[in-house]
Amino acid sequence: MKKNIKYALIAAGVGIVLAAGFLMANKATALNVNDVASDPAAFSGTITITGVVAGVSKQDPSIIGMMDKKELQCTTPGCKKFYLPFKAQAYSPAPGDEVRATGRFETYAAGYIFVADSVTVVKNHKIGG
């Protein structure tokens, strides 16, 4: 029985360490759209951005607009949303997709565009009916 207690305590310890590690790992990687919106040039190398897909550019369907997750809460007409333009090869955008996109900012004629190497869909928020 003493063995069982030992195992239980070890399992609890490992669980706490894993939970703390998960929290720290999360903190190190994900940025919100509003964090990068004002000054994309300040971010260098590979970064991960999390946000919600708002739509696709009518001029260039390969450019997707991503808004901050917080904007989902703001529904009054006065809310001015920022849409971060991003490109992703192997991703079919669906409005409302909450995504974690990993990539880097590249300069184009229109300005900075986030080019994602990988996109993970966390969930869909069913926006726009």
Partner: protein, 387 residues
């Protein structure tokens, strides 16, 4: 043998069962304390940030929602739609001291930092700032930055260092004395410089207003609304709407914790029911020795309460430790960004700890009532003849 010794001996008789039952309560109470503690800290931080803003009124773009009001307190960037012409009209209203803010963001070593464009001279008076290192802005259009104390230490920036904002290299002029609020993690630029760098074209995000006579707040709101077509919210209204959002989040978190405690309570019921069946013979002997029904009932309730006390104590300590460790890492949404200020994060609240231990004891005692009743109503013959 005293009653306390008997209770301790009984519950530790099966060490494995004791540990697992206890773990259930510890986890339940720890999650409860964590959520309660984080929620409490969040409220404290909101009050502190509201006080640190130093304004009785905030003028925002028309139609701003409560979530944008949260952004004023968290230092997040806001839409820059208020014109300098409107700012001038607001400042012309008698009996007020109004200062405009342009809130933006940049990044240093890929870490986001809040940037605020301010009118240097007026803002220093408005906020009663003091400088600990270097100098303050010498002019209203001087290209340079003044840093909050935490931003300075976080990025090892001192007077003489340079900061790049939107591709423009700006010298660090000085470092502000710690305020305990968002100002500590902010980079300040003269408003005209910030407007040029961020291409804000003579616009600001919001205007903070201090009213000379607080009794005239409502009149001042009306006067500002008559002067400009913008939204005006008092600090009390802003606090109320922000706290109501936070309150909703807190209630949700506490409900999750309540489920964990409920599961732990059923764990106690299960353990105590098993103990009742296992100890029928012992109950019978106690009855034969003259123990009354109340005594047997009391022993089982005390055992259950003891589980609650131990689990509550360990859970409260674990919850406080976890909330202290976790608070700096919980920064992914508008409600918890307050915890990123220069504050210490979680504060050990003895009332929360004591309340949690009492709550755990109460839940455990309630969970133990039915098994105790079952044990007490056993007839001596039935109990003693049990094999």
């Amino acid at each position: 043998m005293t009653l306390t010794k008997l209770v301790v001996k009984n519950i530790t008789r099966r060490p494995g069962r004791f540990v697992f039952t206890l773990l259930g309560i510890v986890i339940g109470i720890a999650s409860f304390v964590t959520f309660l503690s984080l929620g409490g800290n969040l409220k404290r931080e909101i009050h502190r940030e509201s006080a640190a803003l130093g304004a009785n009124l905030v003028v925002t773009p028309k139609g701003s929602c409560a979530y944008e009001q949260v952004s004023i307190l968290t230092g997040e960037q806001l839409p820059t739609t208020i014109t300098m012409d409107e700012v001038a009209k607001i400042r012309a209203v008698k009996g007020i001291f109004a200062v405009p803010f342009l809130t933006e963001k940049t990044a240093i070593t890929n870490r986001p930092v809040a940037v605020a464009g301010i009118l240097p001279g007026e803002m220093k008076k408005f906020k009663a700032w003091e400088i600990t290192e270097g100098d303050y802005f010498s002019g209203e259009n001087e290209p340079g930055v003044v840093l909050g104390s935490v931003a300075s230490s976080q990025f090892s920036l001192k007077p003489g260092s340079f900061v790049t904002v939107r591709g423009e290299r700006l010298p660090v002029k000085g470092v502000l004395k710690e305020t305990g609020g968002r100002d500590d993690v902010t980079i300040f630029l003269p408003l005209s410089v910030a407007q040029r760098i961020y291409k804000a074209g003579g616009h600001v995000s919001f205007v903070a207003v201090r009213v000379s006579d607080v009794a005239l707040i409502d009149d001042t709101i009306e006067k500002i609304k008559e002067t400009v077509s913008l939204g005006v919210v008092s600090d009390k209204q802003m606090l109320k709407s922000v706290l109501s959002i936070v309150g909703t989040v807190n209630i949700t978190l506490q409900l999750i914790a309540a489920v964990a405690i409920l599961a732990a309570a059923f764990g106690i019921v299960n353990t105590m029911m098993t103990a009742t069946y296992e100890r029928k013979r012992e109950i019978g002997i106690l009855q034969a020795m003259g123990a009354k029904q109340q005594t047997i009932f009391g022993i089982f309730v005390l055992e259950s309460g003891f589980y609650g006390f131990l689990g509550g104590l360990a859970g409260a300590v674990a919850g406080m430790l976890f909330s202290t460790l976790a608070s700096p890492y919980i920064n992914q949404n508008a409600f918890t960004t307050f915890l990123k200020g220069s504050g210490t994060g979680a504060v050990i609240d003895l009332r929360v700890m004591a309340g949690s231990v009492l709550f755990a004891v109460l839940v455990a005692v309630l969970a133990g009532l039915y098994p105790a009743w079952r044990a007490a109503r056993l007839s001596p013959v039935e109990a003693i003849s049990y094999e």
